[in-house]
Symmetry: C2
């Protein structure tokens, strides 16, 4: 069974500890604030009220036994750095640390964090992309510099035609892997599937080619 | 040109304002803390130092002119609720608010937020999934209840065979849309592409069938 140590049980740490438990892992949660620990004590495998800037405390956590260790102390910079350093020195196999900003993150990497997370930056950047995304071309997953998986609103010119007739792979190198129609999704649609008005085509291919397909066929 | 109003320029608000500007939008950033506003004033279209719990302040922002308005005041609960209410009353077309926890989020929805965000919860949940994901089956994008796009580590039995020979679509309904080999990604691989040891297959299809493909072919 997978075991994780989460130090710092603020918004991020608590949610992480609880998500891991939900997925079947064993989780040890540590925070110096007893009220915060009390909030999750009954839902997390083990908890402890402790100050992880104290090397004696960290020595006793058995850090090296965990599959991964997460330092989720965000805004208390000194505590975050001290804790991360101690976790690394005590043998953390995989060390993830949450950073409050880029400078903080750089230091965390230098002192031993294998992965540095910027939750606010990540979600802010996703929201900005969602706001700015053109409605008929929504990128879902980038695959390479040129290719990705995206959702295209079926251009009018495609409607009433079968996938076969449209020659999307031949003309644009586009692989239509799915069609969203209302609240139904058809995965791997057949060549004789007829495109209807308002269909959302889930496509894999070159972004520029996909833009061409929308613009050249309005 | 798209225009956005971001109230609260903490970690989340600042990153959002800057990401939007980077994507070509016009952004108005507001915060009551002049030091915080000073940090981004030269990189955001317009800024103002103001207390958005004051209805006279919010009246003057021209809230209804923006494509969307974001209340990024996280931990100051009262300010977050007051501001969200005032933004709604002043005509926000699309109102997004950041919540510190579920209770806060519920209230924000009731008083007018169209979308409530929980950045820490979102990233914590993603990290938990990444930790717990089996190494040879990584889900990338869910498509329907049954189908998704995922990465499969090529089972030994596949290696040395062409995609054609493996009959993955015929036997498992799997559409191999890409192959990751080292740091190269081949999108829409040809039928005569030979699978090599350590190839990561990017596949669209039924999850259970994909698991079967890995297990039945070790
Ligand atoms: N020396 C320490 N030892 C153990 N826990 C600590 C220490 N210093 C701070 N913490 C804990 O870390 C937790 C997270 O810190 P804080 O809430 O400041 O971070 P945040 O980044 O604002 O939180 P969030 O996770 O909500 O985004 C707090 O519950 C705090 O008690
Ligand atoms: N009444 C108000 N009017 C305008 N701005 C406000 C008001 N109250 C708080 N703010 C601003 O909101 C910003 C974000 O608040 P705060 O930093 O507490 O949220 P957070 O959720 O901890 O931040 P983060 O965005 O880093 O996750 C702060 O810069 C603060 O000055």
């Amino acid at each position: 069974k997978q075991q994780y140590l989460v130090v710092g049980l603020g918004g991020f740490g608590q949610n992480l500890a609880l998500s891991l438990v939900e997925l079947g892992a064993e989780v040890m949660g540590v925070d110096r604030d007893e009220l915060v620990v009390a909030e999750v004590a009954d839902r997390v495998t083990h908890t402890a009220v402790a100050d992880t800037t104290d090397s004696r405390v960290v020595k006793q956590l058995g850090v090296a036994d965990f599959d991964a260790v997460v330092c989720a102390i965000g805004t208390h910079l000194e505590a975050s750095l001290m804790t991360t350093l101690l976790l690394k020195e005590n043998g953390a196999k995989k060390l993830v640390a949450k950073a409050a900003n880029e400078m903080h993150g750089k230091i965390l990497s230098r002192i031993g964090a294998d992965t540095v997370l910027y939750p606010e930056k990540e979600v802010a950047s996703r929201l900005a992309k969602d706001f700015m995304a053109s409605k008929d071309f929504v990128e879902l997953v980038p695959l390479t510099v040129q290719h990705s998986m995206f959702e295209l609103t079926a251009p009018k010119k495609f409607c009433g035609h079968t996938l076969q007739e449209l020659h999307l792979r031949a003309n644009f190198g586009l692989n239509v892997i799915g069609l969203k129609r209302g609240d139904q999704t058809i995965v791997s649609p057949a060549a004789d599937e007829v495109i209807r008005h308002n269909d959302l085509m889930i496509v894999v291919g070159d972004r520029k080619k996909a833009q061409e397909a929308i613009e050249k066929h309005p």
